[in-house]
Symmetry: C2
Amino acid sequence: MTPLKPLIVGLALMGLHATGAAQQNPTPAVPGYAYGHKTLAKAPYTLADLEALKRSLLFSEEDVKALRQSKAILADQTDAILDVWYGFVASTPELVVFFSHAKTGKPDGAYLAAVRQRFALWILDTADANHDQRWLDWQHEIGLRHHRTRKNRTDRAPSVAQVNFRYLPALTIPVTTTLKPFLAKKGATPAEVEKMHAAWVKAVLLQTILWSQPYVRSGQF
Amino acid sequence: MTPLKPLIVGLALMGLHATGAAQQNPTPAVPGYAYGHKTLAKAPYTLADLEALKRSLLFSEEDVKALRQSKAILADQTDAILDVWYGFVASTPELVVFFSHAKTGKPDGAYLAAVRQRFALWILDTADANHDQRWLDWQHEIGLRHHRTRKNRTDRAPSVAQVNFRYLPALTIPVTTTLKPFLAKKGATPAEVEKMHAAWVKAVLLQTILWSQPYVRSGQF
């Protein structure tokens, strides 16, 4: 029983939990996973801002279709994907530092494990591509959790104060590069794999741009 | 004769202009093109920062090779590439606004033309991938020219005050997606084209991250 479970059940009864991975995967009573929660603040960017940004990065309905195609392919592979991603983070000192104990400098196992559970749902939510206001508010919250505003709070982690901005957009590459072989494992044609991969690159870059908002000086986002 | 020509000639005589497109293309007396110029400020990020960032986005020596392979392929196509890129910008209102006259709101032809000349050299410089201190200082300068610190100054353009942050990383996608067909036009194998394209995505994203530095709050980059 996690502290959030009563809240999630309550929201489900109120019909407020209808989007995101939680819909198709009734398991996630994952601590700190708050997509669709009424408690989230409204994002400082609008749906119109989102549409403009999507146009600028050539994000189309074709990409939405490709992402949704990827969901069924990835659904039972999230653990294996996360093994690869965590392996990459663990072997890259400039990344693992963001999961380190602020005093000892050693990776914090409990923090890594807590984030990992949400990361699995994030894969499915990214594939869902339901770009509505609730999704936007959740992106805002995710950004704040990387920024010094709210990092560590969700998991009461004794870690460093922020993920430095530069690594947010950068992570688009390892995440999507290492994802590609998993997209190819369930019989999709090479052309379909290319389309899904390209859609994933756009979808992750789009999100990291939104997550960057708290880092950007006032009026310059 | 442009105002910069004496400076460029002077720097060349002093041996200070040995990197960048200018080396292989003796034409560029392009106004405002200042790669390698002694007048540039030192970047606020170091070569060690750059190496860490490159590791985080899986940028390897293979990517350097692929970029350099692309140079010969792209060298005589820059005009055609820029036709495509400018066509995309012109047809995307949220992008063309950054080239607009601040008062009339209409695209400023002289400004667009001035930037275009440097953009052609930027293609070749990106392919060169000489990631040394001079390159880093030039990235810093390019960032400032997108930011309100120094936008419009180079071309004395009567344009809007800044390029909004969100469009810098976003442009990685249209730039590299529309580049791909040009990479395929000179007989490289499909596998080579894929490698060159992947290297370009990393190289452009890397640069837009560096260009974002002036937008990011103090201590958070």
